[in-house]
């Protein structure tokens, strides 16, 4: 029996000393580790605001060597602090553990050393009845408290989440179905009335969304039935006319031709000329102010604009003789401010003018927008506000019926709007959540509607040209989008350098038909036909894809790069390289060169085609090619 309780003498004071020392040590270490731990959370290298703001400042003044040095030092300091701190916490934890183990051992030894032999308390009698009574009482109290607290919390926070989720799911589903119906172009052709009906539906849906959990069973049933109803009545006011119109097709009213889709509807276009010898050059005139915009043609008149930081002008030439008919100075526009800083390769008038045969419209780098009649007299003018665009505004204008379509995506806001060609008043304006884009709008008739198609980081989107309503949108493009889209046969092609080339099947639920990454463009726009897609790159490569499958048919490399966009005319593609040579080849499955004609002057502007003539802006000169 004596073996059970150890009688070995224990040096109590020694162990007590050990316990106290290790205990104090443990407390000290513990405090240090906690302090260090809190510090780690403070020096978070991922979110060092200071360094980030310094880097931003450096971006503004890239040559500030002192600032750069400061960033490097700070960065090193933060990283060092972070990793040292981690090391300290880890080491501290080991020391803490060690000291606690020592303390525990010491205390346990002390406890064993204190010979507390078992004893019996004679007077003590356990009252089991009292215990059970107490226990019953407290178990009941505990249970009741739990129930009461839970119930109070439950009733205070009661939200009927389940029903709300079910309703929300139904509303969301109804919405998607409704939007699908809304956008189906094949819907019945009833005229204006259904639009009103549809509007009502949308309102109803919104009401439904707003109405909170008390959605009664009947209303729920209604929600489910709604889409069916909508399908029956909803239809889109079908656009009965043609776009581009015959008149537009006979002319070359905007950048990249009628509607801006890169197609010229002309015949008998010359293929051979020589700028040096003057062969087939009908006339050549000098323009007053240089710009990169392209000429447009209507009737006998040719329009273009020019600008520098101080001056903005619109010119009108006789397209047959090259005679300057008039020059309109753009000034004294209400709300206008000084020209913003732009890069020299964009200039103050990168956007081409556009005309509808009654007026000609021009836009400049500071947001000045002017409409002039065919005689050069101002019809209206306005300032859209200086666009926050680090290269300079370059999206060209294009006209649909009585609406001038303006893409105005800049850093502060993005929107596309339609202004009345007669008064300049805003007819519609749709906000876009996009970054700056340099691409021009393309207007095409797609099914029963006329769509304005725009490309900008992050999406390619389409708007109803009549109402501005967003018809579809697909996130598929990134970066600083320069090239405009190309459209053919219900498919939209968009691309950008460092992003991708996407072929989008349009519709309410647009889908990516195919993607490619090999040949991408940062300036020139592509051209599409029903069968083929032609991609032109700024480094001199042309590629032809199957429009439907994305199969690469051919690629061809030229010596010079391209900034001008290609134009499809008479089944041939006219493509002007930066050195001034026009490469003419067949829009076909194989690369067949038709001719290469040299202008003898560098050019980055897209040519215009009218009446069997080609008009090219090159440097300060304007050329007319043809007999």
């Amino acid at each position: 029996m004596d073996t059970k309780f150890s009688n070995k003498p224990v040096n109590l004071s020694l162990w007590r000393g050990v316990a106290i020392v290790s205990g104090v040590f443990a407390i000290l270490i513990c405090a240090m580790v906690i302090v260090n731990y809190l510090q780690i959370n403070k020096v978070d290298p991922v979110n060092t605001e200071v360094i980030n703001t310094l880097v931003e400042r450096l971006n503004e003044n890239p040559n500030d060597a002192q600032l750069r040095e400061q960033i490097r030092e700070m960065d090193l300091l933060v990283r060092k602090a972070f990793f040292t701190n981690q090391w300290e916490v880890r080491t501290g934890a080991y020391l803490l553990l060690l000291s606690i183990i020592v303390m525990i051992i010491a205390m346990q030894v002390m406890k064993m050393g204190k010979k507390n032999l078992p004893s019996v308390d004679e007077d003590y009698q356990q009252n089991i009845i009292q215990y059970q009574k107490n226990a019953r009482k407290w178990v009941s109290i505990g249970g009741s408290v739990l129930i009461v607290v839970t119930l109070i919390l439950a009733f205070v926070t009661h939200k009927d989440l389940g029903t709300r989720f079910t309703d929300a799911a139904k509303v969301a589903k109804a919405e998607t179905v409704a939007s699908e119906v809304k956008a189906t172009p094949e819907a019945e052709q009833e005229a204006a009335k259904p639009v009103v009906a549809e509007k009502k539906d949308v309102e109803k849906l919104e009401e439904l969304k707003a109405s909170e959990p008390e959605v009664k069973k009947e209303t729920k049933a209604e929600v489910i039935e709604k889409p069916v109803e909508t399908k029956a009545v909803a239809s889109i006011k079908k656009y009965k006319g043609e776009y581009p119109t015959k008149e537009m097709m006979a002319n070359f009213p905007s950048f990249r031709g009628p509607g801006g889709n890169g197609i010229g509807y002309q015949k008998n276009v010359p293929t051979e000329w020589d700028g040096v010898s003057g062969k087939n050059i009908k006339w050549k005139v000098e323009t007053a102010l240089h710009a990169y915009n392209s000429p447009v043609v209507w009737g006998d008149k040719l329009f273009l604009s020019g600008a520098d930081a101080n001056q903005k002008q619109v010119y009108c030439y006789d397209k047959n003789s090259g005679k300057l008919l008039w020059t309109a100075d753009v000034k004294d526009i209400a709300g206008s401010s000084a020209a913003p800083e732009v890069t020299p390769d964009t200039g103050h008038a990168a956007a081409s003018v556009s005309t509808d045969g009654k007026s000609v419209f021009a836009i400049f780098s500071n947001g000045d927008l002017i409409a002039l009649d065919m005689k050069g007299k101002q019809v209206w003018s306005k300032n859209l506000g200086v666009p926050d665009n680090h290269y300079g505004h370059s999206s060209s204008l294009v006209v649909f019926e009585d609406k001038l379509i303006v893409q105005y995506d800049h850093k502060k806001s993005g929107k596309v709007m339609a202004l009345s060609t007669k008064t300049g008043d805003q007819i519609w304006s749709t906000d876009r959540k996009v970054k700056v884009s340099w691409a021009s709008p393309v207007i095409v008739k797609n099914g029963g509607r006329v769509e304005v198609i725009l490309a900008a980081d992050p999406c390619v989107a389409s708007y109803d040209a009549q109402t501005g309503e967003e018809l579809w949108k697909l996130d598929c493009i990134t970066g600083e989008v320069g090239p405009s889209v190309a459209y053919a046969n219900g498919i939209v092609f968009a691309l950008n350098e460092y992003a991708s080339l996407v072929a989008i099947k349009t519709g309410a639920q647009p889908e990516v038909l195919w993607e490619a990454y090999d040949y991408l463009s940062d300036v020139p726009s592509p051209i599409a036909t029903d069968k083929y897609l032609f991609v032109v790159t700024s480094y001199g490569l042309i590629a032809c894809y199957d429009a439907l499958s994305g199969e690469l048919y051919w690629e061809h490399e030229f010596d010079n790069g391209f900034y001008a966009s290609p134009i499809l005319v008479d089944d041939k593609i006219y493509l002007l390289d930066r050195a001034g040579s026009m490469h003419i080849f067949k829009a076909d499955k194989e690369f067949v060169s038709v001719a290469t004609s040299n202008l003898g002057e560098k050019s980055d502007s897209t040519p215009a085609f009218a009446d069997g003539h080609i008009y090219i802006r090159a440097g300060k000169n304007l050329y007319c090619i043809g007999k």
Binding site: N59, R72, E515, Y517
Partner: protein, 190 residues
């Protein structure tokens, strides 16, 4: 005698209960027997779901996080202008701290031949914040990907990052396929 009977009864009830408990244990085991995997399960990030929110760096129970950026060299374009290495809008392509995207300087840039550079992740310094992954994915091939580094992962029963992951990208997978890299860019549609 009466006492003994009482004791026997108690024993009998006890035995019955013991068998019932044993049977229920066997039952649970039996039900689960066909749902077992022999090996362990591991946590894995589905890189196609990952949004590089940065929580891998903060939520992991291991410091620094067991989630690391792993470089899939096969997918790398060895670009000079690397979106994973350099901050956006850098003026000079140098290794200066003001140009580096990585907050801990865990990416080593090495010159190989004319326009090409190799990027190596120093695992000890990587904290799994995913900044470089985002940068590379937005601009480049997406060869930098966040994955659980299984030599560091303590394989918690319930991964703390999985709980916090906003895109539900973490899942338990059988141990024989511990890593999953999303393929070439083409997979990432729409």
């Amino acid at each position: 005698m009466e006492k003994k009977g009482k004791k026997d009864r108690r024993d009998f009830i006890n035995t019955c209960f013991r068998f019932a408990a044993g049977a229920s244990l066997v039952g649970v085991t039996g039900v689960l027997a066909h749902k077992t995997v022999s090996g362990n399960t591991l946590w894995q990030i589905d890189t196609t779901k990952c949004t590089q929110c940065g929580r891998c760096a903060t939520s992991c129970v291991v410091t620094p996080s067991a989630v690391k950026c792993i470089h899939v060299y096969d997918m790398c374009g060895y670009c000079d202008l690397c979106g994973g290495y350099l901050r956006p809008n850098v003026k000079n392509i140098t290794t200066g701290a003001e140009n580096q995207l990585c907050p801990t300087g865990a990416i080593k840039r090495k010159y190989i031949e004319d326009p090409f550079f190799e990027y190596e992740i120093i695992e000890d310094l990587c904290i799994g914040c995913g900044k470089c992954v985002k940068g590379c994915g937005a601009f480049g091939n997406g060869s930098l990907q966040l994955q659980v580094s299984h030599d560091l992962c303590v394989n918690c029963n319930q991964c703390a990052i999985a709980r916090d992951c906003p895109s539900d990208a973490f899942s338990r997978v059988p141990a024989d396929e511990p890593y999953k890299f999303s393929g070439f860019k083409k997979e990432k549609k729409g």
